[in-house]
């Protein structure tokens, strides 16, 4: 029977790489909650098709990291599962560290649902699930059969350092992105502002030309008129109405407005005033309206 105590917690070589294997735990829920302890657990791998979540004790990982700086740490169960050494059909399997202690693995439907340390040839589980120590299969392998998982175990400190690094990096990216966006926006705005200013200065030059011309026109119009005022048409019509009715009633008409209205007692029966609209009033008079 092979015992694996001597490959645990010291640097060994797997696939030409110096690594440390440590005992790990497979559990559906955080082992801290199972054991009600104040230690910290770190998740090694999330649940997958082949196993429930894999955990390790943070203190163990930190101690190994402190003792063997730069040597990656992997879980023994994690590595054994990854190497395909677990028999999918046998419910209880053991990785023996010494004659009476080691790691047990419980397999259900081809999935490792629980794994942890045992000692004194006694499982820290309820025997009523129908698994007995005598039926257990001992997993045996050579170190060079092992294939390392992709993800080494990181302590909470490692994870937090890593996360901090990611966070810092992201803040740098954010800074760069925001500066870039602000610069582009400023550039676009600067360009638009220049286009607008150019437009306005062109307009102002034209406007001042225009104002100078208007000023000169006003000066000229103080002494000259292009056309003398002529209200001949309107006055001739008023005269026509006044000839028929000398008592014509005209409320103030401003001749500039070109809208006319008069009230007469008689209208010329031979002249229907095509240029006007006429309306008969209750008192017999006529209201004549027209526009020019």
């Amino acid at each position: 029977m092979k015992l694996y105590q001597d490959i645990l917690s010291i640097p060994i070589s797997i696939g030409g790489k110096s690594v440390i294997l440590t005992s790990d735990i497979v559990s559906e829920i955080d082992p801290v909650e199972v054991r009600k302890v104040s230690d910290l657990s770190t998740m090694v791998m999330p649940e997958s098709r082949r196993h429930h979540a894999i955990w390790a004790w943070d203190n163990d990982i930190s101690a190994l990291h402190d003792e063997y700086k730069g040597v990656p740490v992997y879980g023994l169960v994690q590595t054994v599962i990854n190497s395909g050494l677990v028999d999918e059909d046998i419910g209880l399997q053991l990785i023996k560290l010494t004659d009476n202690s080691g790691l047990y693995l419980i397999v259900q439907d081809g999935k490792v649902i629980e794994a942890d340390l045992y000692s004194g040839n006694h499982l820290p589980i309820d025997e009523s699930i129908g698994l007995s120590f005598h039926d257990a299969l001992s997993i045996e392998f050579e170190v060079d059969e092992l294939r390392l998982p992709k993800q080494e175990i990181e302590s909470i400190l490692d994870k937090s350092k890593k996360a901090e690094k990611v966070r810092r990096k992201q803040w740098v990216y954010r800074g760069i992105a925001v500066s870039l966006i602000a610069t582009i926006a400023y550039g676009v705005d600067f360009f638009l502002e220049n286009v607008f200013n150019e437009k306005i200065s062109t307009y102002e030059a034209k406007k001042s030309d225009h104002d100078a011309i208007v000023e000169r026109l006003h000066e000229a119009e103080a002494r000259r008129l292009l056309n003398w005022p002529d209200n001949g048409v309107a006055l001739a019509r008023l005269m026509q109405l006044a000839s028929v009715d000398p008592t014509i009633l005209i409320n103030d008409i401003s001749l500039d407005e070109k809208t006319y209205s008069a009230t007469v007692q008689n209208i010329d029966p031979d002249n229907i005033y095509k240029w006007a609209t006429t309306k008969r009033n209750q008192d017999g008079s006529w209201t004549v309206n027209w526009k020019e």
Partner: protein
């Protein structure tokens, strides 16, 4: 106590980055558009050149005309025409009523008489002198026309 759940994942950090970028883009676009809206082109921007050309032509045409006759000379003409039509010509400085407000020097006056005579005289006056007709009125056989005689001062 440090907990794994409090360590933000890369995805969460990326989400924050995308959010920050989105906010920056939104704010930039909003600001640029707002500033575009604030830049108001004068209402007559498109017409100012055409207006200048039209005014210049008016100016050229106006400068080609003769100078207006002196006010006093025209005033004598007005008196003669009014007399001819049996209409009374009086000085009339009623600023409450509408009257000529142009740039030329003007004397304000009123013509009173029978409606037909007032209208006829005003037609004749406008042919004889530069006269702006302001307001006409007729009540019970009496008519009034206010006028502004235009000319140059002597």
């Amino acid at each position: 106590m440090m907990n794994l759940k409090n360590i933000p994942s890369i995805n969460e950090e990326l989400k924050i980055t995308l959010f920050v970028v989105a906010v920056a883009i939104g704010f930039s676009v909003y600001t640029v558009i707002n500033r575009i809206d604030d830049r108001i082109t004068p209402a007559d921007y498109d017409q100012i050149e055409t207006m200048s050309i039209a005014k210049q032509k008016m100016l050229n045409d106006t400068l080609k005309t003769n100078e207006l006759p002196p006010l006093w000379n025209s005033w004598s003409v007005l008196k003669n025409v009014a007399e001819l039509y049996n209409v009374k010509l009086t000085i009339h400085e009623n600023t409450a009523q509408k009257q000529y407000e142009g740039p030329a020097a003007s004397w304000h006056a009123a013509l009173t008489g029978k409606p037909k005579d007032v209208f006829a005289s005003l037609i004749a006056i406008q042919k004889a002198a530069p006269v702006h007709a302001n307001v006409v009125r007729a009540v019970e056989g009496n008519a009034l026309a206010t006028i502004s005689l235009l000319g140059v001062e002597q």
